[in-house]
């Protein structure tokens, strides 16, 4: 069994509007047999935080195009994307790309 972990979730660039406008969320993920990975986190967010219009946040089993995922201030592509295993106190940011000028 992996122990429960706490993570710091942030939404920005407009993605926070899907979460009642709240940008910062301190979350505890329950213990489970395997370590948490990003793929499971996305499912968990849909079930526990994202109350409506999931198609504006996820597409298939990943985030929709135009949302960048950052793990501890690094592009998640550098860390394995969906396969990244979450560590206690990780900071995960979902940020919508801005296009205005």
């Amino acid at each position: 069994m992996a122990a429960p972990i706490t993570i710091h979730l942030e939404f920005g660039g407009g993605a926070e509007l899907l979460f009642s406008g709240v940008k910062k969320h301190h979350m505890t993920l329950p213990s489970q047999s395997q370590p948490w990975d990003m793929k499971q986190l996305l499912v968990w967010i849909q079930q526990n935080l994202l109350k409506e219009r999931p198609e504006l946040f996820v597409q298939g089993d990943s985030v929709r195009p135009g949302i960048l995922v950052l793990i501890n201030d690094a592009d998640w592509e550098l860390l394995g994307e969906l396969d990244y295993q979450l560590q206690d106190k990780d900071n995960i940011v979902f940020i919508s790309t801005l296009h205005g000028g």
Binding site: G12, D73, H99, G101
Partner: protein, 282 residues
């Protein structure tokens, strides 16, 4: 490309004295700036402060591109345009303001929409491109044109109380498509007309663009080549994100690019190359 100045005039030395004495710049850095040409795509909230500070710093040649005219609702953030310029082409209004500031800068206004037909021919004439546009199709178009012509792209954006900045296609780093291979669904895109923007937020981001352009032009080099800077104006917080490297599979800058000429970006993105139509507020 401009022909290289061999030396600074006495007037140049006076005018730029406060930056000439910086060890990071010096006379050679100023000469480098004076022979650099920059194309600014969009003379709005980002393009205005960018053009202003590039001209003030003595950039050699400035291309100012915008298809639009000055409206009253622009003035809260597009600070090169004044009340007397309402109804004028933004490119012309911006060029006039730039000349007031520094008449030694060669300044060409382009009152037109950047398109697949004209983008390469325009961008090839410049050393550095700054994306100050306001819509998704133009951002892909500018990116692809910069990759195809091998120009660094200093890109910024702003909405509501947030801003983002990155330098693409620079020193082997990623391009815009490496980061965003698939355009966002049109219904998830918000523009400044719909979402609003606090004027000084593009002000800060446009100044930041000017800084990175000047660092590249002077020879110092940008520190944002594989980085994304995100700014939250509410918390007054900047964050520097390490980005992925250039992607081998990128369709435009990768090892086997499938994009070798510019195509139809409005249909690729499913939206128009203007920020004027209304979309869902997200």
């Amino acid at each position: 490309p401009l022909k290289a100045k061999a030396s600074l005039s006495n007037e140049d030395i006076m005018r730029y004295s406060r930056q000439l004495i910086l060890p990071e710049l010096g006379v050679q850095g100023q000469l480098n700036i004076s022979k650099t040409s920059v194309l600014i795509v969009g003379c709005g909230g980002l393009g205005c402060p960018l053009a202003q500070y590039l001209a003030a710093a003595g950039i050699g040649h400035l291309g100012l591109l915008d298809y639009d005219e000055v409206e009253l609702s622009n003035l809260h953030r597009q600070v090169l345009h004044g009340e007397d310029n309402l109804g004028q082409a933004k490119a012309l209004s911006a060029a006039c303001a730039v000349r007031r500031l520094n008449s030694t800068v060669e300044c060409i206004p382009y009152h037109l929409q950047l398109s697949s037909e004209n983008a390469l021919q325009l961008i090839q004439q410049y050393d550095i491109v700054a994306d100050c546009s306001d819509n998704v199709p133009t951002r892909y178009l500018v990116n692809d044109a910069c990759v195809l012509s091998g120009k660094p792209l200093v890109s910024a954006s702003a909405l509501r109380m947030e801003g983002q900045l990155a330098v693409y296609n620079y020193h082997g780093g990623p391009c815009y498509r490496c980061l965003y291979p698939v355009p966002p669904p049109p219904e998830t895109v918000t523009n400044c007309s719909d979402g609003g923007v606090l004027g000084v937020v593009p002000g800060i981001m446009g100044c930041f663009q000017a800084l990175e352009v000047l660092k590249i032009a002077s020879g110092q080099g940008s520190s944002c080549g594989q980085q994304l800077v995100i700014f939250d104006a509410q918390d007054a917080r900047f964050r520097c994100i390490k980005l992925r490297p250039r992607q081998a599979g990128c369709v435009v800058c990768g090892e086997n690019p499938s994009i070798t000429h510019l195509a139809d970006y409005e249909s690729f993105c499913g939206s128009a190359a203007t920020d004027k139509c209304r979309k869902l507020n997200l």
